[in-house]
């Protein structure tokens, strides 16, 4: 019986945990609850994933209002995959967060942070699970608003301004999205994703529908931080507490990409997107620009978090590039990279959090000889960095393989070249860290050996291990992405 309610539990449990943590007003209890909730969410997500594998699409009517009138939670191969990704990262980051947050955030705000953390988790899971376009907006805002708070909790006052900028950009993005949704609702009279897809067929050639497509794409691009709408991201990531940024970098933009996938392929369908709007062409160009420009920018960053943030912008380019290729391998790459980049970036930010804790800064120049001081951390960064580059044997390679394959199938050689150039740039910026940490002599007054505490190191290393594991064992990441691509492209063939 409880199994029938998994979709609701996936969202409700984090939702209830957030106020509970506020009520308790204790950082320690908040952390404990948040961690348990994230594990619970992971268990639910995995169960949902397996159920979808065995019984197909799961539909859950909130309040027993039958869709399309009521809100429907609808789990298929695609969002089950996203649910697992989000809850997985949360459940690894939260055990890590205790020590990291204690060092970075004043104690009287801990309970607020954990409350917002689970609320953000709830929003992201809700965005992924719901089958109602307006409900997506609500969850998007839940995750965004809690995200702004989380970022603003950074100890550096620059975090405040970053959070403000993020708030402005994020709100504009969400508003664009909801304008598009309003137009669609006007034209179709429904908010249910599946229903809308059906009803849109009759009106897809009208101007409002096209305007809706434009609004939604631009709005989501802002949330995704697609180049050149990414300006909010580096500051936000650089300023936020390490655990927060590890979680958000791994999940927040990813879920927005998921929504974009749903809209571009699920609702509008390529028959609307492809022919004369050149939407996908533009997406491809912007993605390519992101991969090159942001990587180049990353190369010249002096702050490790900022470097990784720009790298995220570039990697988001990989994801949207696969989407824009709109063939089976491209979408597979896109979905798989959601996962692969998610775990890679989470691992990197978690490790950098350890550096911030021990060194007090993550300015690249201050990290000379760090490998002697924090050998495990540095080695972890190298491994995860290789995944970022896309070296075989790492998760990042799997994605790149499919991306290049997709581009070749499309005959887009220039895209292949861009992927190549971008990986080179990635190698270069990872390289900068390696050279500083491994090759430069440590300052004379450096502490001999001070690894990050185990509570932080173990989850971070688990994530690094996942980068390797999913470089070989691809039946989940790639298999899931293939199923998801089949769901998305199913209507197109």
């Amino acid at each position: 019986m409880i199994l029938d309610h998994l979709p609701a539990l996936q969202v409700v449990v984090p939702l209830m945990a957030a106020p509970l943590i506020v009520l308790l007003r204790s950082g320690r209890a908040g952390w404990l609850i948040a961690t348990l909730v994230s594990w619970f969410a992971l268990a639910v997500a995995v169960m949902l994933f397996m159920r979808v594998q065995s019984v197909g699409v799961i539909s859950y009517a909130i309040g027993n209002w039958p869709p399309p009138w009521g809100i429907e939670y609808r789990v298929d191969a695609l969002n089950a995959f996203v649910l697992v990704l989000v809850s997985l990262i949360a459940s690894v980051v939260l055990p890590y967060a205790r020590t990291s947050i204690a060092a970075e955030v004043p104690a009287d705000r801990h309970y607020l942070l954990y409350s917002m953390f689970v609320l953000c988790l709830c929003g992201l899971l809700g965005m992924a699970i719901t089958g109602d376009v307006f409900n997506i907006f609500v969850f998007l805002e839940i995750s965004s608003l809690s995200g702004y708070v989380l970022i603003g909790l950074g100890r550096d006052r620059r975090a405040l301004h970053s959070a403000f900028q993020y708030l402005i950009m994020g709100t504009i993005g969400a508003t664009f999205y909801i304008i598009g949704v309003g137009l669609l609702y006007l034209m179709t009279g429904t908010l249910n994703l599946a229903d809308m897809t059906v009803r849109l067929a009759a009106v897809e050639e009208t101007r409002p529908v096209r305007a809706a497509l434009a609004f939604i794409t631009v709005g989501l691009s802002l949330k995704i931080a697609l180049f050149p709408l990414h300006v909010w991201l580096p500051g936000a990531y650089a300023g936020a507490p390490s655990a927060v940024v590890a979680f958000m970098a791994g999940t927040a933009t990813k879920v927005s990409v998921y929504v974009m996938l749903r809209f571009v392929f699920g609702i509008f369908g390529v028959r609307l997107v492809l022919p004369d709007l050149h939407l996908l062409d533009m997406l491809m160009i912007f993605s390519a620009a992101a991969m090159i420009t942001a990587s180049l920018t990353a190369l010249f960053q002096k702050d490790l978090k900022r470097l990784l943030a720009y790298s995220s912008v570039a990697q988001i380019g990989y994801i949207t590039l696969g989407l824009s290729l709109a063939n089976n391998d491209g979408v597979t790459a896109s979905v798989a990279h959601l996962f692969n980049h998610g775990i890679t970036k989470a691992a990197l930010f978690m490790l950098v959090g350890g550096i911030v804790l021990r060194v007090g800064t993550c300015q690249v120049d201050a990290l000379a000889g760090l490998a002697r001081r924090m050998p495990v951390t540095c080695f972890g960064i190298v491994i995860a960095g290789l995944s970022l580059v896309g070296v075989p044997g790492t998760a990042g390679f799997i994605t790149k393989w499919h991306l290049v394959l997709a581009a070749l199938q499309d005959g887009q050689w220039w895209v292949v070249a861009v992927v190549g150039a971008s990986s080179l740039l990635a190698a270069a910026y990872v390289w900068r860290f390696v050279e500083v940490a491994y090759m430069q002599p440590a300052p004379a007054d450096a502490v001999t050996r001070s690894e990050a505490p185990l509570q932080m190191l173990v989850p971070a290393c688990a994530m690094v291990a996942a980068c390797i594991y999913f470089g070989f064992e691809t039946s989940f990441s790639l298999g899931g992405a293939r199923d998801a691509a089949a769901v998305l492209l199913g209507g197109l063939r």
Binding site: V12, L15, A18, I62
Partner: protein
């Protein structure tokens, strides 16, 4: 200038009726959506009015910060709790029909409880925001 008689007297007169009106809106919310929201705004406005006339410390004594924050949480919990009650009673999440023997009564009950949650949350949020801003000065002094 020593006294603001007028404001004081009128506020004393008005605030109880404001609160009662808020509760009226809350309990008669079934006849249009959003009762809890408006009622929450009114409740908060009454307290804010009180704070404006009698000062922030007086208002904080009346409704302390901790209470506000707890209300915030309790409101959300009520909302979600109703949904979970639906789950526990064998329906779907937020399934009101199972909350009473008669489905229509069940729905009444469900919506009412949810609106209570909304009332508590909305008034708490507004008060929280007010408290946050009320103590702070503008940067340009008179």
């Amino acid at each position: 200038m020593r006294d603001f008689f007028v404001l004081r007297v009128i506020a004393k007169l008005l605030i109880p009726f404001m609160l009662l009106f808020a509760l009226y809106v809350q309990f008669h919310g079934d006849f249009g959506p959003g009762g809890g929201f408006q009622a929450g705004v009114m409740c908060a406005a009454a307290v804010i009015f009180y704070a404006l006339i009698f000062g922030l410390p007086a208002a904080r004594a009346l409704v302390p910060d901790a209470v506000v924050e707890s209300m915030l949480a309790v409101g959300v919990l009520i909302y979600a709790g109703v949904g979970v009650a639906g789950l526990l009673l064998g329906g779907n999440f937020l399934d009101y029909f199972v909350l009473a023997a008669d489905p229509v009564a069940g729905q009444h009950r469900g919506i009412f409880l949810v609106e209570v949650g909304v009332l508590v949350t909305v008034s708490a949020v507004m008060l929280k925001i007010f408290y946050m801003f009320a103590g702070r000065s503008r940067n340009t002094p008179d």
